[in-house]
């Protein structure tokens, strides 16, 4: 068995680049992801395992200095994203053994992410997302499971002019093509 080569990853958007004046659209690096479900009253008990306190308010997120993010998606639902590509299985097992009733499912490969950045980033997303994405209604750190054109996405605002768009793998071509198309009209 020793000669088994480790299979290499083929990321769905690798090599794609797009943008226009004032906007860049780029695939995010691979990441670890866990879909976490837990009763919000017990969410606090996971803080030490996660290294962060799960956000309990709608449309909010928490990001640690090590690049781990917890996005509130519903009253008992979070999307955890970790900069480490191997975090998915590790976090899943740790959460399952926390002694709290949880559902932790590794979805590292289910999702992929696209970074939309620049002065026209918000306008680019507004082409396809009906939510109010202004800085007042959707400040830095805000996140939401919503729609982009004809697909479901999770949008996280990482900066005044920076967004992370998470979508399922097979929809990433559509999402990227849509954002590239929309970027062209962003600074209208």
């Amino acid at each position: 068995m020793a000669d088994i080569a480790h299979a290499h990853r083929s990321e769905p958007l690798s090599g794609r680049v797009a943008g226009a004046a004032g906007v860049t659209v780029t695939p995010a690096p691979a990441a670890g992801r866990v879909a976490l479900r837990v009763n919000p009253s017990e969410a606090g008990q996971l803080s030490s395992i996660l290294g962060l306190a799960l956000p309990l308010s709608p449309k909010t997120s928490v990001t640690t200095e090590t690049g781990r993010m917890a996005l509130w998606l519903g009253p008992d639902e979070w999307l955890l994203i970790d900069a480490s590509v191997d975090a998915g299985p590790h976090l899943t097992s740790a959460l399952c053994e926390a002694g709290v009733l949880v559902s932790a499912v590794d979805v590292s490969h289910r999702n992929t992410a696209i970074l939309v950045e620049g002065a026209g980033a918000q306008a680019t997303l507004e082409s396809g997302c009906p939510q109010n994405l202004s800085l007042t209604a959707f400040p830095v750190g805000a996140c939401s499971r919503t729609v982009l054109g004809k697909i479901e996405v999770v949008i996280l605002r990482t900066g005044a002019e920076a967004f992370r768009v998470e979508c399922w793998r097979s929809f990433s071509d559509y999402a990227f093509t849509f954002l590239a198309d929309a970027a062209g009209d962003a600074l209208a």
Partner: protein, 998 residues
């Protein structure tokens, strides 16, 4: 010179900036900023089209979006062509090609005009009456002829090379309309701190100040004041000013659709710009400031080219510097037409007479007319006109006096008053209220967070309008919860035009006792006589009158005709006008192009195309793909020289002789986690899950509440509290929703959560006698021997160094595995398996071979062998229904009398007497082929294939009482022959199932 009728020193365009365009092939010159309408009139052209039904010569009625007549085909090049564009809103750009419509062979000589002579045939409702018999002739003769003769433009046939954009926008206050009211409201709201969007359909804001030049505000002319306000608004960070932008649809919860024409006016647009941009605005508050639309007078032959609204003539003069004629008659019931006459007179145009139906007219107006030497006839009417391709005279008579005097004219301007533009209010679900004092419909209670101001709200006085607007701006900001200390004081304003005077319905000489053509609706060729006919034929509701006569239909949506039509109907019905009612205004306010509506969703973005992680490998290996929902799935892999049939036969044979690789990644997958996971599955599936041990899997059937099969799939138990559920490809999203729906509404007490993992896992099915041998060397940490890992088991370990959930299962009847790996590894693992499989004689197979292989084993496909009316028993799957479970979704439905009766259609095998004949799926099955048609049908064929492994055709079908007909002969009648079939069981190969355990 850009047209002989251009008047030096008049208008706001720059004469030196000329542009060239063509009209019906004739090269003409315009000035930058001209509309096509103003450019044509400048060049002395009033004749712009033929009417819809009678092919009467028509010209511009208006200078705005309400235009019913001057619809043009506007082209930039052969692919960029738009039919039915209103010449009054289309700005001329250099190189524009405009063509008139609905005429043949030419605009000035049109064969279809014979319809005008035959007009008694084309009276209102003629569609419903004249062509009733013979019935067959409607489709073949009448309809094509009518469609050809009547009608508007021709749609372009080439692909649209332009692109369109969409923006969702949110604001505190949306102001619809950039006239004095809208501008004042926007400035007031913006100074109060609100985020404001203001839109107007014209290139420049200012509304009525485009034509009305007598007003001063803050010491400036109305138009200059408007431009100063726009400049101030544009300079504010919290304001977005959208010109050339029409609010066309007011939907629920203050969702308003705007369409911005970005490049339609440009000669050489930047290719990066969208041609049009859709704005979907969500506003906390909406201020409707849409003004009023002038109505024409209804009299005999009021539709000749050169006859137009007074405000239109004033716009052409004061904004575009174009005189609509040299000798212009005036026919009015409203004061504002006097100002138009005065402006024309001062510009050197002869005004032979102002004809006013009112016996009394404001003395000051009469004095001004006298000062300018204009004759005014009060209590008079224009009763007829003459002139074939342009009006050349009008007949004026004293009302009730008979006779009349002819005046030579080359244009006639008219006004019967102003209709408040309540379209947006009405679209917002508002009900209009009749105001008896001013005799007009006005907005009542606003059902959404909006308010109407200015002329559309019936506010006529200028200073009242400004005060109302300032108040509305402030109030909107307050209601939106954003008002801060700031504010804006209304400027001093002096009005220059009176808008008083109102007449509805037909005038002198066009009353009920006449047969003249007095047009009410120009676009649909509806006359006063037609409305009366509708009433006489029993149409009492205005909605019926509208549909019988088509009054108010078509692209102009009755902007000029509704009130006249209503008044005539009310007069005929002898009812007060508000009792007859007004038809509902619907979106869109003006036509919206498909391009703007579709915007980004074209080409690759029309619909998402979903590809599996192995797609590129499959494409590189010659796969032909089929669409399964949004997925592209490898259908079959033809080798050189193979057709589909040969490729599928080879793939089917190879799987049973050696092995095959199949991409099953599109299967839906749901991770069910929690201490009550098994209890939840017990409720969602017919099967029992309690005894399934971790590491084992089972085929499950899911029903709807009605007891019919909804989905199926293999479910693996990964741990006590964790299941890996698979669903059909097409069922993935709806099964997830179905489960979540039941969990949240029926079984919320269960401690279990659902997570979609469809795209977490790439799935490689390796099926066939060599399957284990192929993958075993790549797998670590799993004992794959048949004893340790029997059929229907699942193990976790590693393959090619990456984590896998390895299922021992089969949808082919062969021993096989389904290798689940994290999706990004799918391609590499597939390649590694392929590298071992190919030398061992295995092949890649597609969905077609998969279908054949499963049919050889009698495995059903939900949605193919079931159709939403098939129970587990019908499908022969009673073994999968737990008998002892107290409850599951569908348990009561399954017990309904109709679902347990004898003689239901049951799934059976069908073998053709001639083994070479492959039945058609969907073909009907009968017991006796010699019955008379319509025959009694017993059922139909659901699956049918050539089976290379069986050496014959195989089929399944649902047949009434099918399982009691084993061995009997039934018939499949086809158009060319009747096919004999024998009823069999559904397993065609390896009936004992020995190969599964190999």
């Amino acid at each position: 010179m850009s047209g002989a009728n251009r008047i030096a020193g008049k208008g706001r365009l720059t004469p030196a900036r000329t542009v060239r365009f063509t009209f019906d092939g004739q090269a003409l010159t315009a000035v930058e900023g001209d509309t096509l309408a103003s450019a044509l009139i400048a060049n002395g052209i009033h004749l712009t089209g033929r009417s819809f039904k009678y092919h009467r010569p028509r010209g511009m009625l208006s200078a705005g979006p309400e235009e019913p007549n001057a619809l043009m085909d506007i082209g930039r090049d052969s692919a960029r062509r738009t039919p039915n564009v209103r010449a009054t809103v289309q700005e001329v750009f250099d190189g524009m090609q405009a063509k008139s419509q609905n005429r043949w062979p030419s605009l000035s000589f049109d064969i279809g005009a014979v319809n005008n002579l035959a007009s008694p045939m084309f009276a209102a409702g003629f569609y419903y009456k004249t062509f009733m018999w013979p019935k067959a002739a409607w489709k073949k003769l009448y309809e094509p002829v009518i469609r050809n003769a009547a009608g508007l433009g021709v749609s372009p046939s080439e692909r649209d090379p332009d692109h369109y954009a969409n923006h969702h926008a949110h604001c505190d206050v949306l102001v619809i309309g950039g006239g004095v009211a809208g501008l004042a409201a926007a400035l007031s709201a913006a100074h109060a701190g609100a985020e404001v969007i203001i839109c107007d359909e014209q290139p420049e804001m200012g509304g009525a100040f485009r034509h009305e030049t007598d007003t001063t505000i803050a010491g400036k002319s109305g138009f200059d004041w408007a431009q100063a306000v726009v400049a101030e608004l544009r300079a504010m960070d919290n304001v977005r000013v959208l010109t050339r932008t029409t609010a066309f649809g007011y939907q629920a919860q203050n969702h308003v659709g705007l369409v911005e024409r970005v490049t339609e006016h440009l000669a050489a647009p930047d290719a990066r710009l969208p041609r049009e941009r859709m704005w979907q605005v969500r506003a906390r508050q909406v201020v409707i400031a849409t003004g009023a639309i002038e109505r024409h007078m209804v009299f005999a032959n009021n539709d000749r080219p050169g006859i137009m609204l007074a405000s239109a003539a004033r716009t052409f003069l004061n904004h575009f510097g174009v005189a609509v004629g040299a000798r212009v008659g005036v026919y009015t019931a409203n004061d504002s037409a006097y100002n138009a006459a005065f402006d024309l007179k001062r510009a050197g145009v002869s005004i032979p007479v102002i004809v006013d139906v009112r016996p009394q007219v404001d003395a000051a107006l009469l004095a001004r007319a006298a000062d300018l030497g204009i004759e005014v006839l009060t209590g008079h009417a224009v009763v007829d006109t003459k002139g074939s391709l342009r009006v050349r005279s009008m007949k004026v008579a004293r009302i009730g006096g008979g006779g009349g005097k002819d005046y030579a004219i080359d244009a006639l301007i008219m006004s019967s008053g102003w209709t408040p533009s309540v379209h947006m209010y009405s679209q917002s679900r508002g009900k209009v209220v009749w105001d008896e004092a001013s005799e007009r419909f006005l907005p009542g209670v606003h059902p959404q967070a909006s308010m109407s101001i200015g002329a559309c709200n019936g506010t006529d006085d200028l200073n009242e309008t400004i005060a109302e607007a300032v108040r509305a701006g402030r109030e909107s900001a307050e209601k939106a919860g954003v008002a801060s200390g700031g504010g804006w004081a209304p400027p001093a304003a002096v009005a220059g035009t009176s808008w008083a005077g109102n007449m509805m319905g037909s005038g002198e000489g066009a009353g009920p006792d006449t047969t003249v053509k007095a047009f009410v609706d120009f676009q649909n060729d509806v006359t006063a006589k037609d409305i009366r006919l509708a009433v006489r034929e029993g149409m009492e509701s205005i909605e019926h009158v509208k549909r019988f006569t088509t009054n108010g239909m078509a692209t102009d949506q009755g902007k000029t005709s509704n009130i006249h039509g209503l008044a005539i109907a009310a007069e005929m019905l002898d009812r007060p006008l508000p009792k007859v009612g007004l038809t509902t205004f619907r979106s869109p306010y003006t036509p919206v192009t498909f391009g703007a509506i579709v915007n980004h969703s074209r080409g690759a973005l029309f619909d998402p195309t979903r590809k599996t992680p192995m797609h590129d490998w499959e494409a590189a290996h010659g796969a032909v793909f089929e669409d399964v929902g949004q997925w592209k799935r490898a259908w079959y892999y033809p080798r050189t020289g193979e057709d589909m049939h040969q490729a599928v036969n080879r793939e089917c044979r190879t799987v049973r002789e050696a092995a095959g690789l199949f991409d099953a990644s599109t299967l839906g997958k749901i991770e069910v986690v929690g201490p009550d996971a098994a209890a939840f599955l017990n409720l969602l599936y017919t099967n029992s899950w309690d005894k399934l041990e971790p590491g084992r899997c089972k085929y499950g059937i899911m029903l709807r509440e009605d007891g019919f099969i909804y989905d199926d799939g293999v479910v693996g138990r990964m741990a006590e509290d964790r299941f890996h559920v698979t669903t059909t490809t097409g069922g993935a999203p709806r099964v997830m929703h179905h489960m979540e729906d039941y969990l949240q509404t029926e079984f919320p007490h269960l401690k279990v959560w659902l997570t979609s993992t469809s795209e977490q896992w790439a799935v490689i099915a390796v099926q066939g006698p060599k399957a284990r041998e192929i993958i075993a060397p790549l797998v670590e940490g799993i004992d794959m021997s048949s004893e340790a890992m029997p059929h229907m088991s699942v193990r976790e370990g590693r393959i090619c160094g990456v984590p896998t959930r390895l299922f021992r299962m089969s949808f082919t009847g062969e021993a096989g595995f389904e290798v689940n790996v994290p999706a990004d590894y799918g391609k590499a693992v597939w390649e590694a398996i392929w590298a071992r499989a190919e030398p061992m004689g295995a092949c890649a197979y597609g969905t077609e071979a998969m279908h054949v292989l499963r049919a050889e084993k009698g495995y059903i496909i939900v949605g193919q062998d079931t159709d939403g009316t098939v129970t587990p028993d019908d499908a022969g799957l009673n073994w999968a229904v737990a008998k002892k479970k107290p409850d599951f979704v569908g348990i009561r439905g399954m017990k309904r009398p109709d679902l347990v009766r004898e003689g239901r259609k049951q799934l059976v095998g069908l073998q053709t007497r001639d083994p070479k004949i492959v039945l058609e799926e969907g073909a009907q099955i009968v017991a006796d082929p010699n019955q008379t048609v319509p025959m009694k049908m017993l059922g139909h064929v659901t699956s049918s294939y050539w089976s290379e492994n069986c050496g014959r055709s195989i089929a399944m079908g649902v047949v009434a009482g099918g399982r009691s007909l084993m061995g009997q002969t039934l018939y499949v009648p086809m158009p060319d022959r009747t096919i004999e079939v024998t009823v069999t069981d559904t397993v065609f190969i390896d009936k004992q199932g020995e190969r599964l355990n190999g």
